[in-house]
Structure formats: C-alpha cells, structure tokens
C-alpha cells in the first residue's frame, strides 16, 4: 500500500503511523520527493486500513497490488505531466515531439538542427554526447565539451535538451546542461544510476531494456521515484526478436499497456524502434494511436553522413512531413474522446 503523508510532516520512530505499522509487523520505506511524502509498505491482509487513514499525519491510503507501487496508476488515476519550464510540458494531453541527431557531432550541426527545429516549432532537441557502443573502437561521443555547446545553442533559442547519461559520476557535471536525462536501453537496469537520478530534480526518461519486460521498466521507474524524483518519462524503443527484416521490433502494444498501468508519460522512439528510415513515419504514427504522449525522432541534415545510426535517421524534409502528420493525428485523436 501507499500511505500519503502530510507533506510538511517529519516522520520519526515514535510517530503514530510508525508505531502503528511496527505494531502490526509491517515494514515500510519512506519516500520524500519534490512533490510528496509517502510510505510504501506491503499490505497485510488482516489489517484495517481505516486505522491508518484516521491518523492526522496521513492524507490518504491506497491499495496497490502491483509489484511496482508509486509509478502505478492504481493509486494515481490522473496522468502525470512533466513541466520543463518555458511552457514546455510533456504529458498534458498534447503530443510532444523531440528531434535531433543520434550523436552531437559539431557546433555547425547543432546550429543547423536548432534552426530546423525552430522552423518547425519543435521545442525539445535530442543528441548524444556519451554514446554506448558495442565496440570499444567506435566513436564514443564528444562528451562534456559537446554538451556545453549543445546546451548553449538550445538555451539561446528556447529549446530543451535531452541527452543520455551513462554513469553516476557524469550526473553532477552534466546537471546544469541537461533538461531531461536519458537512461539508455543498456542501462535500463543499472540500478545505481537509477538511484542517483532519483536524488536530483530533473526529468529522467528511462528506455525499456533491449529485451526488457514492461514490468521491469516500471520497476526501474520505481527506483527513480522511490529515491525522490517524480519527474519520470517511460520510453518504448523496440525489443529484440528473431525477425531480421528490421532492426528492432517496436512494441506498440507496450505503449498501450504502459499507459494503462502507470500514470507516467510514455514516449515512443520509432527511430530505434523499427530502425529503418522508410518505416519510421508509419511506426511513429502507429505509436501515437497506441497512446504515446510523445515521439522522439532522429533527424540529421545529411543522414548518410551521420556519425551513428544514419540508416534510421530522417532528413529535415522527411521529418517535416512527419511532424505535420503527427499533429493532425493528435488532433483527430482528441476528437475520439467524444465517441
């Protein structure tokens, strides 16, 4: 169960709630976030939860039968939205579009991308400066130097930055140059990294593992939330299967399931998800119909020259058509509610 405490309340060993739980043999974890104060505990079958609800320090008590708790929709029915500032909000009912190159390559590339995004009304730019690569001999990104340039140009133009963080030590130095920290598929169960991201007050987008289950993704989000950070985005980016006709099997089913089970916003990554340029637009649109709150796309001025992932990257022209389709689709979708 989740017990929501009065937010200004200081829990101590002899608090009435602690005493009551201890007396009933119920272990619990205290969670303090930027928005709330919770106790997470297993619910013992024979306990009358009204006893808890009556305590003055308790705002509310919720039964949550899922293995994950705080990220479950079982206690929080309304969608969570993430406010990035400057009126850029994810998960408020409209579709968010994030776009940019796989890797940050140069200042000229950043400038070109920022211009493309401004032209098309896109307010979140993606780009990797720390790149997880299968081979140790591959390009591994421009690092902090690249990130600072990336952030500067975006900030100057009112664009928010999403980029991947790969290890705990990077969080501090990256912190001031990032709006959304991305946890990549290979780090989806890097629990120390998730713990650490739970202790900062920045949005975190967690990608599903390469063959991660939906439940594992939600548990990874629970790591972040239970460490104190409620600003979490979930990302479906395709799973590994036996099929060789495309790069990954984008699992649009997972988008529908995640929206059903959790109150957190869900972002679709069709570029990695299907991983073949000519199918990205269809899969992006399919993801929106499956319920995605946003789409993250790889775009590049000259996809053929991209340092990484060129085969799944859209040109500015291709991306521009897709943005338009996505927006029309989003509008239609909002009309469906009246049916």
């Amino acid at each position: 169960m989740i017990i929501r405490l009065a937010s200004n309340y200081t829990l101590s060993e002899d608090s009435a709630i602690a005493t009551l739980l201890n007396k009933n043999g119920i272990g619990f974890s205290e969670v303090v976030t930027q928005y709330g104060h919770y106790l997470v505990a297993p619910l013992k079958g024979d306990m009358d939860i009204r006893l808890i609800g009556h305590l003055t320090e308790v705002d509310d008590v919720y039964r949550v039968s899922d293995a994950y708790k705080l990220v479950s929709r079982k206690w929080k029915l309304k969608n969570t939205s993430i406010d990035l500032g400057d009126n850029i909000v994810i998960g408020d009912g409209s579709l968010s579009i994030m776009a940019g190159p796989c890797s940050i390559e140069s200042e000229a590339q950043i400038e070109s991308t920022v211009k493309h995004l401004l032209d098309r009304g896109i307010s979140i730019m993606r780009g990797g400066v720390y790149k997880p690569r299968s081979s140790p001999y591959s390009f591994r990104g421009l690092g902090m130097e690249g990130l600072k340039l990336f952030y500067k140009h975006c900030q100057d133009n009112g664009i928010k930055v999403i980029t991947e963080v790969m290890m705990v030590e990077q969080i501090e130095e990256m912190h001031d140059y990032v709006d959304i920290f991305q946890v990549g598929a290979r780090n989806s169960q890097n629990f120390n990294l998730l713990d650490a991201l739970g202790k900062i007050d920045k949005a975190v987008m967690i990608k599903r593992g390469i063959s991660g289950t939906i439940e594992e993704l939600l548990q990874s989000a629970e790591y972040v939330f239970s460490n104190g950070n409620e600003k979490i985005l979930l990302c479906e980016r395709g799973i590994r299967s036996y099929e060789k006709a495309y790069r990954n099997t984008m699992d649009v089913n997972a988008i529908a399931v995640l929206k059903d089970r959790s109150h957190l916003p869900v972002i679709a990554d069709p570029s990695h998800g299907v991983g073949v340029r000519k199918y990205v637009d269809k899969i992006a649109m399919a993801s929106v119909m499956a319920g995605a709150d946003g789409v993250i796309l790889e775009v590049h001025e000259v996809p053929q020259k991209a340092f990484s992932d060129g085969a799944q990257t859209l040109s500015y022209g291709q991306a521009s058509v897709l943005y338009e389709k996505l927006r029309q689709l989003d509008q239609l979708k909002s009309q469906f509610a009246t049916l």
Copy 2:
C-alpha cells in the same frame, strides 16, 4: 526473374522461350493463374534479358532479387486488390473491416452478429467452424453444419464469409460456403494446404506463423500464387515473445514491411495480435497507421460467454465505437498523401 507470357499462349517443349532458357541452362517453373501466365526462373548473371523480351510470346520480363518472386513488389508496383463480388473489394485503398466471433456457436449467434454487422455497415463476417486447439479435449468447432448456417445467413444479407480451413480434405466440401479461406498461424507453413489452396479460385488469407518471419509469410503466399491463385491476403496476428503483459506481440512493424515488399493486401488482426480486450482498439488504430488495408476483429454479443477467446473479444458497443474511429482515421490517412 519473372517472364510474363501472352496469356493465351500454350507453352510447349519447343516453344522459343523454352528453347532459349534451356540453351542457357536456366530451369524454370510455369505458373498459370486466373489472371496471368508466367515463367519463374533464377536470373543467370551473364544472360541478356533483352533476348527474352524480344520473343513474341513474352509480354514482359522482370528482375526480382527477392527469394519470393510473384508476390514481390519488385515486379508489380501497384497494389493488388481482391474483388469478392457485390462491390466488396479488399485492397482498393479504402479500409476493409471484417468482424465476428472467434467460433460459430449457434444459429442465434449468427443472426445476432449479422444484424450487428448490417447495422454498422460491415460487409465481411469472420467465424471459425474448424478450430485448431492446443488440447484435444477442447471444443473444436461446429464443422460443416455450422458453416452452412453461417454462409446462408450471410448470403441472405449480402455479407461475405471468411473462415479457417485446416486440411486439404476440407477444401472441397467448404468451397461453396466460403468467400475467403483463412490459413491459421499454426498452418502458415503447411505447404500441402497452401499448394491445394493455390488450385482454387477463391481468396485466401494467410496468417503469419506463431514465430514466423516476414519472409516465410511471403514464401507461403508464393506457394499459393505459384499454384495458380493470385487472390491472396497477408495477415499479421502477433508473434510470440518473452513479454507476458499481453497475449502476443502484435508486430505493426511487419505491416509496414509487408506493404513495402509485396503488392498483396495486408490485414491486421489486433484481437489475436495483442489479445487483451482493452488494448484492441488502440492496436487496431496503430495497425491502420502502419499501413494495413484491413482489420479483422473478434466481436460477440456477450464476450464473457464466448466459447473461445472471450478475453480478447469486443462487445457490439465497443466494436461500434472502434469502427467509427477506424473510418475517421482512414479518411485522415488518405489526406496525408497530399503532404
């Protein structure tokens, strides 16, 4: 390569084309369908295909590098459409909807479903009379008796019938009571069944195998085509994966790939595809955006009482909302061509 012969031409051992191919050591298969007359042959690198093109009996010659040939879009760029008669056409650019119960259960159930379909303007009804079941002790369908009732009520109301055939011996007795023969996922590589369905002049819908590849599905279609029947529909119905949060992983990526690689119409089966009622509508819409020419849905007056697959079956009310959404989506999609 595919050599398209003049359709009234009779090939013999001493035809000029046969002589030419034999002289060049090129084996070939002759294919005669309801619409065309073809020779399918491997293309030897050093042969000048203009020599073939010049022969009077040859209409055209096409290079097809795919493993499958006649079903490839490499030689036939335009979409194939399947005319079921009475102005009911699949694959003509508009979205086809097929709906009905998993199993035909009774005459009353048929009547109720037909009424629902008529009310909603749906002109193709699905329903199984031969059911493949994992356990030999499960209900295996009403058989021919059920099919005759099913067909009678549909024919009386201008509705076309799609139903599963499981073995070669059933084809003949079922033939006059079926508009589209469905080959189930478990028979997707039952090559004798595919051979036999290639020898009749009825539409055949082939479901992708339980873990079938896209290429295997196209090769299965090639079996039907190369035996003489061009009226083929491909069906994506979800693949088996490690994820347990739903029944199957509906592979919307495959829809996009199939439309790209083949000229045949593609039908999405979201009911089996995701296999959980509350997600069927989202996955149906996602499938349309991925490029499906049609959707096949399980509906039942009282899903909870269905003999089989109740958990993924929509009620009439739920289905009616979905039909409406699908039609609006289809309309929007056709506007996208102008972008």
Copy 3:
C-alpha cells in the same frame, strides 16, 4: 483425472462408470489404444474418487493436474519404451542413435548410408522423401518412389526407417514402408495430422514447433495418444531466437523438462538443433547429459553435395567418432545412478 478401465471392457451409456460420471456432471473422453482403455475427465473438486475406484470395470484412477493427461508422468511413473521389432527398442534405458541424410537422393546414396550404419552398429536410418521447404521452387523430395527404395534396402539389412509425413493423405500409402512416422516442426500443431497418426499402430516422433512451448509439444502428443496410439517419441530440435551465431537455439533444458513431465522417450536432434556442423558433436553430447533417450543425426557421404542441410551434416568419419563418444557417455551416465 485418468480412469483406467479393464482392457476388455465395453463402455456403454448405462455402464456403471458412465452413470456415475454423468450423475456428477463430469464430461469425459473415452480413449482406446493398442495397450489400454481409458476415460479422461476433469476432476471435480468435491467428488470422492474412491467411488470410482470401487467399480469393477475400473482398474485404477489417477489425478493428473497437468493440462495434458495421458502423456503425463503424473499417472505413469515408469518410462515408456517403444519396441520397433527385431530387438530394436527406444527408451529402454540405453541410448538410441538414428542417422542418415536430410533428404533421400538416390539408390546409391541409400546403399552407401546403409553400409555406413551397418559398419557402425546403427539400426535406425533417417531420410526425408517429403520435404517441407520454405520456397515452392526448392527440391521437395523423391516421394513414394524414394521411400520404397529406402525401405527395401533398410529392411534387407535389419535397419528401421524413420521419415517425415506431411499430410493425412500420405499416411496410408506410406504406412507399409515406415517404422517411425516423423511429424516435422512446421506440422507440430497440425492437429488433423496428429489425429490421423493416432489411429494407426506405428511409432510417431513429434518434433517441437519452431517456437513451440514444451506444453504445446506435450499437448500434440496427447492428440496422438488420445486417438489411440501410445507409441510416441518427443523430439527437441532447437527453437527460434534472436541469436544469429548458429541456426537454431538447441534447447537442452527442454530435454530435462520433458523427461521430468512425461513418460515418453525424448530424442535430441542436434543437427537441426544448432545447425552448424562443427558444433553438432558437442550439442549431441550435451543432449545426452540432459537426459535424451536418443539422438538423431544428419550424415552424408559428402556433406558438401547434400541436396539439403549440408552445412549441418556430418561426414561418415565425423559421425563415427561421435557414435563412439555417445556410447561411452551413455555408459558413464548409467554409472551415475549409484552416486
């Protein structure tokens, strides 16, 4: 539950057992095989099974909680062995080896293989005359003519024949030339074929589906048994996975599980299982350690010239070394029982 009836007993509607079950609302299936007479029924919680056990026509009653019943080890604790005649028995505790080419290609090939097997003391020969092929343009086997030659040479030399049957219509014509009917992976859930093979008195080896579950394989065996034929072999032949370093993922875990859950003999097919010649010996030995009762191997005088599956086929020399290893391993394994 399984009710074992006196074997000479004729069940009728007013038999005491039928009356008792009907009175308790328990549906049942009657199964008559070459060895026994059974009723298979769901066990209702509130029924006292001693009431059944007391009836004179009842030999014994067994609770079987598995979804499959007659093939379960829950009622038959001892291993089933299959007697092929001429003292050739599978599943009697010693290791059975079957070997031969993927496809029967010519009489000379049959003679060469038979000689190799005789030299090495192998008494079961494999070889396909009906070949399931992904492409309709591939070699599909020599058919009945090939089978008759195959059988003649084997019979003359005291060797038993195992070969694949693909459709119901083939069973009758093949019947007298086959000792073990093989059901291929693509037909593992061809329920009509399984039904028909349940009605003959020949051994049947069922391969696990391409992505078949262990439970599905046991249910497919249940089809054969419940139609009247207890002579069933289960075969693990590798499953489809994302890994591309070999052809299939030979699932040796499944061998251990099948031996645990069922009384039927289990055969390992490492040639298809891993599908790469240089790994076949290791995987064959691994399979024996996992509990396999037998191994089926692809061998060819000149693997490079095999009509099909050459890349996974052993030469006579390679196979001979492996036979020797397998026999020594089998001997060691039987000593382990005393630890």
Copy 4:
C-alpha cells in the same frame, strides 16, 4: 589487424610503426596490458602487412576479420588460462568448480559454506554482497561489511572469492577483497564499468546479457582487454525466451560457439541458466559436454531459507553428488581427444 609490439617498447608519434600506419591512413588503438603491448587497427585491403612485420619493434602481425579483435581466437589459437594464485587456475584444461550462495547473508552462513567447499575440494566461492534487484524494495546485499567477512574466511582457508561489482565507484573499495570481479547480466553492456575493470589487474567474469548476443559478449570482453586487462572469463547464464517451463533458456550452444571464437575461458552458470533446482545437475553436465571450462553453482545449507534465488539453489548434499559427476565427466572428456 593486431600488431604485437615488443613488450618493452615505448610507442611515440614518430615511431616507425606509427609513421607507417599514419602514412597509409590507418587509425589504430594502442593497448598495453599486464602481458602484452598491441596496436589494434582495421586492415586496409591494399596494404602489404609484411611491411609491418619487418619493423624491429613489431613481434608479429595477425589478421582478425571478427568485429572483436583481442579476444578472438583468430590471432591467439591457444586457450587462455587465468592464474588466481595458490595453484588455482581456470582454463588450464581441467574443470573449475565455483560454488556458494546467491547472497552473502551472515558470518555463520559463510563459515558453513567454506566448510562444505573444503570438504568437497572446491577452491572458489561465489556470493553476492551487492545485489541487482528488479524492485527497489528488495534486499540489496550486505555490502562491504559482508564482503570483508566473506574474504577473510575464504583467505584463511585458501579459497578464492568471486563476487559481483555493480558500479565504477565500488571497484576501488572492493579491490583487495576480491579475486574475480563478476559483471552481472544487467551490466553486461555497462561500458564504463567494463572500461574501469580493464584498468585493474584482477580477473573479471562477464556474464552474457539477458538477451545478449554472443558477439556482444565478446565485444564486452574486448572492452576489458583493450583497456589493459587480459584476465577475462566469459559466462553463459541463460537467455530470455518465450518458454515458461523454466526460468531462463540456458544456451549451451553458446558455450560451444564461444570456445570456438575466443581463446578466453568459458564458465557455465546452470543455476541461473535453467533456474529450477531439479534440472541444475543435468544442465551443468550438458554444459561441460558443450565445452565449458568451469561451472558456477548456487548452493546453500537450507535452500528454502536463502534470501534470494532459493528455487534454483542446491543443498550441500545435492551439490556434492553433482561435483562428483562433473569430475568423472571431465575425466571422460579428456579421453575423447584420442578418438
């Protein structure tokens, strides 16, 4: 290609080899390990490698077509063995056995396990003090305090310690209390962790990812090697599949492939691999026949009371029988070389 330099050679920008490679436009990575000094470079087709071989600072040059280089058997044909000191060597041709609990739970448990291992002649003990857990609310291990106790008891008894490291920051504090650092399946592509483990002189065992490919595992090993550490063990621990009859699909095929492609020792983890106690012995033996250099097993005095993974853990009695079988099998296997 791999260029092996004289080990005492100091590479500089104007070294003859650097000059030659630069002149030919060949980028390269310098690798200095505890045993060697290498340059790793792509081989350009038109270059005569004898020019390189002639340089005095070059010991040898090897063509390696694999994506991974230093861990490939293409340049190092002999098996690598890892010397842990005190005559405990892994990969020298005899079978290594590692055993112990999933989690270190208490000093009493350590003492009991050490006694069991000493009794059975096992010289490497496993045990987790940092535990990756799906849920943030699960037991996460005793940490450094547990490790120090674990190491002390092992060292006092001549037993080596293998334990999991989860993050870069832990390496330094763990360093003096660990003989083999284990990288878990979830960290198999945590490239920063692999980089850091490449900079120490301790053995590192890398587990295959949850759905990792064989190539990815070898690339992860390449990370460690190319950072300077050649003491690497590869571990097969089961992959994720659709099958639900066991926990993971232990991929014994991968053991055969890894031994073929790499010179590094391969350890089998049947406890996680199949994940069901009653199958562990069969899968352990199967792994040895597939070529494993060692086996790592979960054992516990009372498996039912283990803090984690009890369902796959052997009791001391069960483990003792298995040790004996494995040793006999290993002996038989060494005799096979003469066949």
